[in-house]
């Protein structure tokens, strides 16, 4: 457990667009892994590390995020004096203006609290860990800022933040989406520093006219601060595009990713839905799939991820599919390499075939 530390989760990333999936919601509110939203991982990592004061910053499309987070009780963050705070841009505005201003809200929040350290986490990486080792490393290096990275920098999709590091681990260069990466060290958007330093850096950024938080922008101060890179050796899934999302989900069905992401010692908390158990009919056939509560399965489901309360009709065939909650797949449908958003209805006999490298996406609430 790390003590005396607060957290900030940047719930969206303006550099990442996922079409129909992020149209109605912030990036971190995109459903993932059958019963979670992407933000659950960053939130649970903090809670499981013992962090009790967590702010979530978001610049738009708050509704699904606010609905999901609620009072914070699912993460045991519905607290009297600490807990979960949503920081929409308006929070500091005292006049009747509609213009968003992320930074001033964040600064005033973090100026007022008392924790010594802050962990800032972006929303686009899914990993399941605690920050105990990061903190030990930070103290050991006597670092100003510690940045978590892993070694997939050569192959990862943009946005990529490549760290150039000395042998001792100190960051000596930072490259955004470089054509020829100098290393494979790719920031995971998780950073640890003193809270006061964070407020100071943000204040300076604001005084230079910045109004938005980019997960890695403070890393660019490497000539001024002692910034160290900390390598995360577990599995991290980067959600940078629809394709990356599709691949990450199907990868999470198999070992060792499944255990790395879902089955760690520390649980991944999420909002409770109180669905009934999943019911398998006498004739169904399910293979290599994750199935959530409330599902009712009559057809065949292979290498797929079914969220809560999905029904799969008689003789329907699903292969390599991701089906969000409350969607109904009618009898006899044939779906392959398809992502279907919430509350869709796929009518009897419909055939939707995408490619593994180009999945078909059906937007929220569609009737096909």
């Amino acid at each position: 457990m790390i003590r005396n530390t607060c957290g900030l989760i940047l719930a969206d990333d303006k550099r990442i667009h996922m079409g129909d999936l992020t149209r109605p919601r912030a990036l971190s509110a995109v459903p993932f892994g059958g019963r979670y939203r992407i933000i659950d991982f960053a939130l649970s990592n903090m809670v499981n590390s013992g962090i009790l004061t967590i702010a979530v910053s978001t610049f738009n499309k708050y509704k699904s995020l606010m609905d999901h987070l609620g009072t914070g009780s699912a993460w045991d963050l519905d607290r009297k004096s600490q807990g979960l705070y949503i920081l929409p841009p308006y929070i500091s505005s005292e006049s009747y203006t509609g213009r968003g201003d992320d930074l001033s809200g964040i600064i005033s929040f973090f100026r007022e609290i008392k924790q010594e350290y802050i962990i800032v986490s972006s929303a686009s990486c899914i990993l399941n860990t605690t920050y105990d080792e990061l903190m030990a490393y930070h103290r050991d290096k006597n670092a100003d800022i510690s940045v978590m990275y892993n070694r997939d920098g050569y192959k990862a999709e943009a946005p990529v933040t490549i760290l150039d590091m000395t042998r001792s681990g100190r960051v000596k260069g930072v490259y955004e989406n470089p054509l020829n990466p100098v290393s494979n060290r790719n920031s995971l958007g998780v950073m640890l520093m003193r809270r006061e330093l964070f407020v100071e850096i943000l204040g300076e950024a604001m005084s230079r006219g910045t109004t938005e938080v980019n997960p890695e922008f403070y890393v660019k101060e490497f000539d001024r601060y002692a910034i160290y890179g900390y390598e995360y050796k577990g599995c991290a899934l980067r959600i940078n595009s629809t394709q990356a999302y599709f691949d990450a989900t199907l990868r999470a069905l198999s070992e060792p990713t499944r255990t790395d992401v879902f089955w760690q010692k520390q649980p991944v908390f999420t909002k409770v839905k109180d669905e009934a158990p999943a019911i398998y009919s006498e004739d169904c056939e399910v293979r290599d799939s994750m199935i959530s509560d409330g599902c009712y399965i009559q057809g065949s489901v292979k290498h797929s991820m079914l969220f809560r309360n999905v029904s799969v009709g008689n003789k329907a065939k699903l292969t390599n599919c991701i089906i969000f909650q409350d969607t109904q797949i009618a009898d006899g449908c044939e779906l392959e390499n398809v992502i279907i958003d919430k509350k869709c209805v796929i009518r009897p006999g419909i055939k939707l075939i995408g490619q593994a490298a180009y999945p078909v996406v059906i937007g929220k609430g569609a009737i096909v």
């Binding site: 991944v268 019911i279 009919s281 399910v286 293979r287 290599d288 994750m290 199935i291 509560d293 969220f307």
Partner: protein, 421 residues
């Protein structure tokens, strides 16, 4: 703070007819139906009916219930005014008493109830599976101008001999009550759900307490006395699914009803959710070689083997080559590779050894054969056990640490504590 109606759930009983399952937990805490515990049903019914203050009367092994109910949050009963309260017996300045029986348990908690100054008190059992809108029961109670209202369920003439049977006049007023009548006059069985005007009940409980001849039971003493006094006692006919899960047979049956009679029990019903404490586990995973049919599963299960016509609670693991049929596996059960279960109820966290053959044909000579608790060839394996590999247990057996068997017949490798939640 005043409440119109509060509910008191009688969750005290040891539930000895469930055998070893209730060695370490009160009956209402027993897992049921893949996602639930028995007490989820009365608790969810209360909340869905708009009742926000619920006393849970408990004295036998309350730890599992206490930690399961906890702050009441899963049922929205973590209220500042009201909420869920676990009510054990206690010492007072003039002595101390365990709860002697149902009526005495309520009697001992009069100060608790008076705290909320309710107009009505609803008395519930902690061991029935059903969905009922108690707000409608209260409306009926008020409309009838009743002193007490008893929910009744239509049973067959045959079954009637096992229940408390009410005979009502054309207005629904109860004129006669018989406990397990040999020749039932009616087929309306008491469901053990009583709505009382609190001032009257309080008076009746005090009188019952003072009566040395009374056994302080609602069914045996309080209700007959009300009828004898000519009080306005009405029956409230309930339609829908209802099952007392007080025996191994009825517990198994009621579990199977989830897959055999899904429309009756209707757990999918959005307008009447049954809430439960969530285990915080990932969605369940069905491996490439697995075969799952006609079953109910929930979060945290990992299935490599074959599961047919069975109810699996959270975090059950069925290894490759294992076969589970007609069975009820409670949270955390592990079925090792090659094992085969047929019509078995397995308690929480038990590990079935490799190639174990459990259930099936009966063998009355078998050291674990049990005719008191088990019936219908159902075999019961208690929670917390680690079974040896390659053993075989026939149908209608009960396996627990309490059994004394010859060293050579011992099938239990060791026993571990079951965590309360």
């Amino acid at each position: 703070m005043k409440k119109e109606l509060i509910a008191m759930i009688l969750a005290g009983g040891q539930g000895s007819r469930l055998g070893a399952l209730t060695d370490t937990m009160a009956k209402p805490a027993v897992p049921y139906g893949s996602r639930y515990r028995i007490i989820d049903f009365p608790l969810s019914n209360c909340v869905n009916s708009g009742i926000d203050t619920v006393g849970v009367l408990t004295q036998y092994q309350p730890l599992a219930l206490n930690t399961y109910v906890g702050n009441g949050h899963p049922w929205d009963l973590d209220r500042n005014n009201g909420g869920a309260f676990i009510l054990p017996p206690y010492q007072h300045s003039k002595g101390s008493d365990w709860y002697k029986n149902t009526a005495n348990a309520i009697y001992q908690n009069i100060p608790f109830i008076d705290n909320f100054d309710p107009d009505y008190v609803l008395i519930l059992s902690g061991d029935h599976i059903y969905k009922m809108n108690y707000a409608k029961l209260l409306e009926y109670h008020i409309a009838k101008g009743a002193d007490a209202t008893i929910a009744v369920y239509e049973v067959t003439k045959e079954e009637a001999r096992r229940f408390g049977i009410m005979t009502s006049d054309e207005n629904g007023r109860i004129v006669k009550f018989e406990e397990k009548p040999a020749k039932p006059e009616s087929t309306q069985a008491s469901m053990g759900i009583y709505m009382f005007n609190w001032p009257l009940l309080k008076k009746e409980l005090a009188e019952d307490e003072a009566d040395a001849a009374s056994s302080h039971d609602f069914g045996k003493n309080v209700i007959p006395k009300l009828l004898a006094e000519g009080r306005q006692v009405f029956s409230y006919p309930f339609q829908g699914y209802w099952k007392d899960v007080g025996t191994i047979e009825s517990l198994w049956e009621s579990n199977m009803d989830i897959i055999d009679r899904p429309r009756d029990i209707d757990l999918q019903d959005d307008s009447w959710r049954i809430y439960s404490r969530n285990p915080v586990k990932p969605a369940h995973y069905i491996a490439p070689g697995a075969k799952v049919r006609g079953s109910a599963l929930t979060d945290g299960c990992v299935i490599y083997g074959s599961v047919h016509h069975s109810i699996l609670s959270h975090s059950v693991v069925v290894e490759a080559g294992a076969v589970v049929e007609d069975s009820v596996l409670m949270p955390g059960v592990v079925v090792r590779r090659g094992a085969c279960l047929k019509k078995v109820i397995v308690g929480m966290e038990t590990i079935i050894g490799e190639n174990d053959q459990i259930g099936g044909e009966e063998n009355k000579e078998h050291p674990y054969y049990n005719k008191k608790i088990c019936s219908e060839s159902i075999t019961l394996i208690n929670g917390g056990l680690i079974l040896k590999p390659d053993i075989s247990v026939p149908g209608n057996c009960m396996v627990s640490m309490a059994q004394t068997v010859a060293e050579s017949d011992q099938i239990i490798e060791r026993c571990e504590n079951i965590p309360a939640v």
